[in-house]
Amino acid sequence: MKLAVALLGFLLATPAWADCPLDLGRGTGWVIYSDHYLLAFRPDPLRIEVGEPFALVLNVCTKSGEPAELLAVDANMPEHRHGMNYRPDIVAKGDGRFRAEGMLFHMPGRWEITFDVRAGEESERLTHDIILK
């Protein structure tokens, strides 16, 4: 969490990202970025429980200010080489805001969430790890 806050401070200090709406409404969440994309997200409900469905609330921005699209969200356990038993749907809420509904982690351990984003021609995959206890 501390890291995310520090990151946020760093990113907001970089003018190109300044317009990106990172506020997800609960004052909490994760921020990940690449050379071109900035993505903020949080689970809904906030606490992910093993075996319980949840959604991700996301904002996707680009450095160029171009509108970005969230193509897919998925998750897998790299150590065990298996994914989720569920396939989420993505609903675009406008202004770079998205909701991925229908996630479920059926086991404790390390889950890698993948986000496929696209602006214009080039698409990219961003990832984030969560350790679920």
Partner: protein, 391 residues
């Protein structure tokens, strides 16, 4: 002269002190947090929004009467209670269920069934009431036919009266609706079957509360077994939470051949049947207008890895049930632990770190695991006969 008894006395003292001090193993804060997740027990009562009579006294009472009523079956001889027996942990003690013929799977216990989200060994049901329709119709189980429940509810004065109390109107003419309502009353009753508190629960509560004396009453073998369960043996990857199940599916290397040349596809087949069922939560009989309870059904995906997967069973009362596994192929808890100790890795076709691997347990470790599993058992209260429907 005096020295000998003194020595003996102090030796005795040492021995007693030693035993007492040994009654509680060292539990790290991390382990205590993990143990805590297997409680509290009992959980709060179930309320299933897809079933309007769930949690209602009139629905539960009607359900209990129907559960014991053989007139729901084609030949008038089989009721739900024929296979799900109160005195046998709501199962039947057989390796494979016996209805009109022998089935390919074991009768699961109905303890704590209301807290699940997928039903049947293959998860073909997404609600307890939908799962309760299947045995009524299945020609191998009760073979009741689609109109039988309706005719019974309309034709029997006591049941008709009980129905009216539960559903607010007399049984109507729509047979399918009455079949579903029968199943909803059955489900309301089944959801009240909550297993008793166990020695494990007393240990867990004492450990979490920092009550060393209370915790030290839990046998050492069970403590060692529990440490294995949540530690090196990784059992709680799948058998997690207060009911010791994730409610999802796994493949632990139990053979899925039913007879030569025929396999039980497990979850893969269950998902096909779920999608084809008019009674799934996406259909018109779901009483929850918000649609919140349809998320699993809408988003679940059918993948080739589902082949040969079966639902992770809960482990409460496990030592009192058995035989074990979806096909009853293991007779005792000792056999189950031997399976996890010796399972062939070839059978578990996994490219990553396998979730189940041959543990190679020593005889003592195996006995400890069994001792822990048995600490999840307790004698249930005797059930009084249900009150009459309409006195």
């Amino acid at each position: 002269m005096i020295r000998f008894p003194l020595l003996l006395l102090s030796l005795l003292g040492l021995w007693a002190g030693g035993v007492f001090a040994q009654q509680l193993l060292d539990w790290t804060p991390e382990e205590i947090r993990t143990v805590e997740k297997h409680g509290p027990w009992p959980p709060s009562p179930v309320r299933d929004p897809s079933n309007k009579v769930s949690g209602t006294p009139a629905g539960i009472l009607l359900g209990e009467h129907l559960f014991n009523d053989p007139r729901l079956s084609g030949d008038g001889r089989v009721s739900c209670a024929t296979c799900h027996q109160a005195g046998r942990e709501w199962s039947d003690g057989l390796a494979r269920a016996r209805g009109t013929v022998e089935l390919d799977r074991r009768t699961p216990s109905l303890w704590n069934i209301g807290y699940l989200h997928w039903f049947g060994w293959d998860g073909a049901g997404d609600s307890l009431w939908a799962q309760s329709i299947r045995p009524l119709l299945d020609p191998r189980e009760m073979n009741g036919g689609p109109a039988r429940a309706a005719e019974l509810l309309r034709g029997d004065a006591a049941l008709a009266c009980g129905y009216e109390k539960a559903f607010g109107s007399a049984p109507g003419t729509d047979d399918e609706r009455l079949l579903v309502d029968t199943a909803k009353a059955l489900a309301a009753f089944e959801a009240t079957l909550v297993s008793p508190r166990t020695p494990f629960d007393d240990f867990r509560d004492a450990l979490v509360a920092g009550n060393r004396e209370g915790a030290s009453r839990y046998p050492l073998a069970a403590q060692r077994g529990l440490k294995l369960f949540i530690g090196d043996a990784n059992c709680n990857l799948c058998h997690l939470g207060p009911r010791f199940t994730s409610g999802e599916f796994g493949d632990i290397g139990i053979p899925f051949f039913v007879r030569p040349g025929e396999v039980d596809p497990g979850r893969l087949g269950g998902l096909g049947r779920l999608a084809a069922s008019p009674f799934n939560l996406l259909g018109k009989y779901n009483d929850d207008a918000t649609g919140n309870n349809t998320r699993r059904t809408r988003h679940v995906q059918r993948q080739h890895t589902n082949f040969g997967e079966f639902r992770v069973p809960g482990l409460r009362q496990v030592g009192r049930s058995g035989p074990y596994m979806h096909n009853g192929s293991l007779a005792t808890l000792e056999d189950v632990v031997r399976h996890y100790s010796e399972v062939s890795p070839d059978r578990l076709h996994s490219d990553g770190i396998p979730l189940v691997r041959p543990l190679g347990l020593t005889a003592e470790q195996s006995a400890d695991l069994v001792a822990f599993l048995r600490s999840l058992d307790a004698e249930p209260l005797a059930r009084p006969r249900p009150a009459p429907l309409c006195p």
